[in-house]
C-alpha cells in the first residue's frame, strides 16, 4: 500500500459536505478506479490525495506516514503524487507544449537541460513527441488531455491521480489515452482515476472503490465490486452491461466477436463465458 486516506471529512465553505468519513487504500502498482455518480465528491477526494485540499478531519498517509501541510512537506508530497485534472484547459497554462511540460521539472529544482530531458521522456511516454513545439491553444481536446498527463508525468510521480481521464474523448482518443496509461502502469506507476462510467472501470481498473455521498461504500477487486448490483444501485449506477451479459472481461466479449457472425447468420464458435450457458 502506498497511499491511504483515513476517515477524511471535508466541508466546503457554505456548508456543502463533500467527504464524510472517507477511507481508502491505494495499493502500489495497481490501477484503482474511484467510481461514483457526478457530484459524489470524487474530485474533492483526488484533491485531498495530493494535498491540494486539506481535510477538516482525518489524514492522508504516504508509505504509512501521515502527511503534513507545510510548504516543504507539500512539495515533497506532490513530487511523489501527481494530479491530472479533468479539463485540460484548467491545467495547461504555458504558450507551448514544451514549456508547459517543463514547468513541473523546473519546480523540482532541475536544470533546464535536465528538465528538457524529462519533457522528452514524458512526451515520448504519451506518444506525442511531435507536439513539443506546438502552441497549447492550437491543440485538439485529445491532444490537450495527453499533454496535461505528460505535464504531471514529467515529475516522475510514483502515483498518478487522474480525474475522469477519458471524459469527452471519442472512441479513438479514449483508446490512445488508455494505451498510454497502460504503458505507464506497466512501467510501475500506480494509477488512481475517477469515473462515473462502470464500463470503463470494468475495462481498465484492477481495483474499484465505489463512492457515494462522500464515502467509499465498497472497495475491492474490480469484478467483485462491479458484480455487486445492490451496492452499485445504492450509488445510482448500473452494473457493466457486458458483465451482466455473462462476460467476465471485456477481452472475453471482444474475443467472441471475431468468430461470432453478425446477427442473422449462423455461428458455431463458443467462448468460455458462453460455454457455461447450458442452453
Amino acid at each position: 500500500m502506498i497511499l491511504e486516506a483515513l476517515d477524511l471529512h471535508h466541508v466546503y465553505p457554505g456548508g456543502v459536505i463533500a467527504l464524510e468519513g472517507l477511507s481508502l487504500t491505494v495499493e502500489r502498482g495497481r490501477r484503482l478506479a474511484v467510481l461514483g455518480p457526478n457530484g459524489a465528491g470524487k474530485t474533492t477526494l483526488l484533491l485531498h490525495l495530493n494535498g491540494t485540499l486539506r481535510p477538516s478531519a482525518g489524514e492522508v498517509r504516504l508509505d504509512g506516514v501521515a502527511q503534513g501541510y507545510s510548504r516543504a512537506e507539500l512539495a515533497a508530497w506532490r513530487r511523489r503524487v501527481g494530479l491530472v485534472l479533468q479539463d485540460p484547459d484548467n491545467q495547461l497554462f504555458a504558450a507551448t507544449v514544451e514549456e508547459d511540460v517543463s514547468f513541473g521539472p523546473l519546480n523540482l529544482g532541475l536544470t533546464e537541460a535536465e528538465a528538457r530531458d524529462r519533457v522528452t521522456e514524458a512526451l515520448d511516454a504519451l506518444g506525442i513527441a511531435d507536439l513539443a513545439e506546438r502552441a497549447t491553444h492550437m491543440l485538439s481536446f485529445g491532444q490537450k488531455k495527453r499533454v496535461a498527463i505528460a505535464g504531471a508525468l514529467a515529475m516522475r510521480p510514483e502515483v498518478l491521480l487522474l480525474d475522469e481521464p477519458v471524459a469527452g474523448l471519442d472512441h479513438r482518443g479514449a483508446r490512445l489515452l488508455l494505451q498510454a496509461l497502460e504503458r505507464l502502469a506497466a512501467s510501475g506507476t500506480t494509477l488512481v482515476f475517477t469515473t462515473h462510467d462502470v464500463d470503463l472501470a470494468w475495462a481498465f481498473a484492477e481495483r474499484v472503490a465505489l463512492f457515494d455521498r462522500g464515502r467509499v461504500i465498497l472497495h475491492g477487486d474490480a469484478a467483485e465490486v462491479l458484480g455487486d448490483r445492490d451496492a452499485l444501485a445504492q450509488a445510482g449506477l448500473e452494473p457493466p452491461l457486458l458483465l451482466e451479459l455473462g462476460f467476465r472481461t471485456r477481452e472475453e466479449a471482444l474475443g467472441r466477436l471475431n468468430p461470432l457472425p453478425l446477427a442473422g447468420e449462423g455461428g458455431e464458435h463458443r467462448e468460455p463465458g458462453e460455454g457455461k450457458d447450458p442452453g
Binding site: 513530487r79 502552441a135 491553444h137
Partner: protein
C-alpha cells in the same frame, strides 16, 4: 478558435528564426519610418516591409492585405481631419492642399506594416520573453504570459455564449443586443475568475510556488542575417538622405 494574427505567426516559415533577428529588422524599419522624412523615407520603408513580409516571410497576399487594411479606417479619418481647416468660410481644404495629410498616411502605413511584419511572424509569447531579456520586471512578464492563455480560453467561452444568445434571439434589435452583451460580459467575468482558481489548483499540483519557471528553446542568432539586416537599414537611410 484562434486569432488570425497568431495563426500566421505560429504557422509561418519565420517561426523558427531567432527573435532578435525579426525584432531588429521590423523595429529598425519602424524607427526609420518615424525619423526619416516621409518622402521618400516612409515610402522606402513601406517597400522594404512589404517585400520582407511577402517574399521573405511568405505571408500570403490575402492575409497581408487584410492585416494592412485594419488600421486604415482610423488613419484615413484622422488624416481627413488634418487635410481640412475650419475657418470663417466653414470647412475648407488646408493651405498645403493636403500634403501634410498625405505624409501622415504614408508614414502611418509604413510604420504599421513594420509592426505587422513583426506580429505576423512572431508568436506574442516569444515577444514577451524578449521583453524579459530587456529587463522588464519578471512579475509583469508572468502576468503577460498567463494573460495570453486566458485570451484564448475566454474567447472560446465568449463566442459560445454569444451563439447561445443568438439562438434565443438575443441579438435581434439594438436594445436586446445591449442587454445580451451585458449578460455575456457578466457571465464571462465569473467564468474567468473560476478558471483562474482551477488553473491555480492544476499548477499547485506541479509545485507552483508563485514563480513561473519555463524552459524555452533558444534559437541562435545568425551573424550573417544580423549583418544583412543592419546593412538593409543603413542602405535605406542612405538612399533616403541621398534622394532628399
Amino acid at each position: 478558435m484562434t486569432l488570425h494574427m497568431d495563426r500566421l505567426a505560429q504557422g509561418g516559415p519565420w517561426r523558427q528564426r531567432a527573435l532578435a533577428e525579426k525584432a531588429v529588422l521590423a523595429l529598425g524599419l519602424l524607427g526609420l519610418a518615424l525619423v526619416l522624412p516621409p518622402w521618400p523615407g516612409a515610402a522606402l520603408v513601406l517597400v522594404a516591409a512589404w517585400t520582407s513580409a511577402l517574399a521573405a516571410a511568405r505571408i500570403p497576399w490575402g492575409d497581408w492585405l487584410r492585416l494592412n487594411a485594419a488600421p486604415l479606417g482610423f488613419v484615413l479619418t484622422g488624416a481627413a481631419a488634418v487635410a481640412v481647416e475650419i475657418g470663417p468660410d466653414g470647412i475648407t481644404l488646408a493651405a498645403d492642399h493636403g500634403r501634410a495629410a498625405l505624409a501622415i498616411v504614408l508614414r502611418a502605413s509604413a510604420a504599421a506594416s513594420c509592426l505587422l511584419l513583426l506580429a505576423a511572424t512572431t508568436p506574442t509569447p516569444d515577444l514577451v520573453q524578449g521583453l524579459r531579456r530587456l529587463g522588464l520586471p519578471v512579475e509583469l512578464i508572468e502576468i503577460m504570459l498567463l494573460t495570453w492563455r486566458f485570451i484564448f480560453l475566454l474567447q472560446d467561452a465568449a463566442a459560445s455564449i454569444r451563439n447561445a444568445q443568438e439562438a434565443r434571439l438575443g441579438w435581434h434589435g439594438r436594445g436586446r443586443s445591449l442587454r445580451s452583451l451585458g449578460l455575456l460580459i457578466a457571465q464571462l467575468l465569473p467564468q474567468a475568475m473560476e478558471r483562474a482558481r482551477r488553473l491555480e489548483m492544476g499548477m499547485a499540483a506541479r509545485g507552483f510556488d508563485g514563480t513561473l519557471r519555463l524552459a524555452r528553446p533558444h534559437r541562435r542568432v545568425s551573424a550573417i542575417s544580423m549583418i544583412s539586416i543592419i546593412s538593409l537599414h543603413l542602405v535605406l537611410a542612405g538612399t533616403c538622405l541621398w534622394l532628399a
